[in-house]
Symmetry: C2
Subunit: 215 residues, 2 copies
């Protein structure tokens, strides 16, 4: 699992564009972790799409995560499942997963992040970092929340919410191991170029952080 | 599994009344099989309700089925899951179930019912029997569809859709092993009395069918 740039594929954010094509583009751009997020379609309709996107990730050696639906994640052989605060809690979801499957959790407060750590999740998403229209359960936390969570856990921390190539540096410098984006790739005119630009900005911030630590 | 009277608990059909109380009443009235059907709540919110209703059924020795969400069904230790035509197909759902769990399937046509039989489901729901406002995916099939499916499978057949104590006899005489109801119990002023009245009408129709066969 390499959460450096965790691209969330969302049909609504893609505004009618084909998720298969966006996936192909972001993989070409260097993304190594992908999530399928679909809040409206019934699972029977979602199944063939999830199988197709998951298959493409598997062939590319890229981690494929399904949002919310644990049953769908297991059914399509995904690498893991991502659970929001309204989804099944990890204690209920973990026994349903195959051994080695990844369980990620969204958190918006210090209390939620501490609880996620104690529930033995595999990574913690922290958000929202910035203002965003994509998430209806939006709670502005800012990079400062990440900075406060960082000393409490060695788990991979992923910043989420309103992240662009212009502000991703703040999130990395706050201690994130990676960032999750929806609109910044799904809504970009050129998702491959957007992926490359985000990765370049992340690497730059990491280099700067490493150099600062050495000084 | 006794699908004679299969009561579906649905928050919308209950119009604000407590599902715990409706469950207690229908069990008191003699119902032996229950389904929890919730199309709107996220699974994290549904989990405690499903655990509570499932626990009550278990203590009463009554079969408890969860609609649609295979993960939730397994998580709460339900006896089975019911899958509509838009939900995960049985081939994808079966491997997720614990051994011995019941898998039921909604069907609205002869083709769907034949397919369900070939997918090794444990019971087949056939509907809609009559006009109803509860199901948005309503397709009027009538007791005649049940009559045509009956010779094709020994699986338990459950009529569903618009069934009341006044018309349940037609469904039983068409070959149903039982009937599933939503409004007839969830929407009844006295769910225990409604359950008893439905069961009496089913028994009467069964006796009549048996007597006719003997003549």
């Amino acid at each position: 699992m390499d959460p450096t740039l965790y691209v969330i594929l969302d049909r609504v954010a893609a505004r009618g564009r084909d998720l298969d094509e966006i996936l192909a583009a972001t993989l070409e751009g260097g993304c190594r972790m992908v999530q399928l997020r679909e809040k409206e379609w019934p699972s029977g309709r979602l199944l063939p799409l999830a199988e197709r996107l998951g298959g493409r990730c598997r062939r590319a050696g890229v981690t494929f995560i399904v949002n919310d639906r644990v049953d769908l994640a297991v059914a399509v052989g995904a690498d893991g499942v991502h659970l929001g605060q309204d989804d099944l809690p990890p204690r209920a979801a973990r026994p349903l997963l195959r051994p080695g499957m990844i369980l990620g959790r969204s958190t918006h407060t210090l209390v939620q992040a501490t609880r996620a750590r104690d529930e033995a999740v595999d990574y913690v998403a922290v958000g929202s970092m910035f203002e965003t229209a994509t998430k209806p359960d939006f709670e502005l936390a800012g990079p400062d929340l990440l900075r406060r969570i960082r000393p409490l856990t060695p788990l991979p921390l992923v910043g989420i919410g309103g992240i662009t190539h212009a502000n991703v540096g703040d999130v990395i410098r706050a201690g994130a191991d990676g960032v999750a984006v929806i609109s910044a790739v799904c809504g970009a005119p050129d998702p491959a170029a957007a992926t490359r630009r985000l990765l370049a900005a992340i690497r730059e911030a990491r280099d700067l952080t490493a150099r600062t630590r050495r000084l």
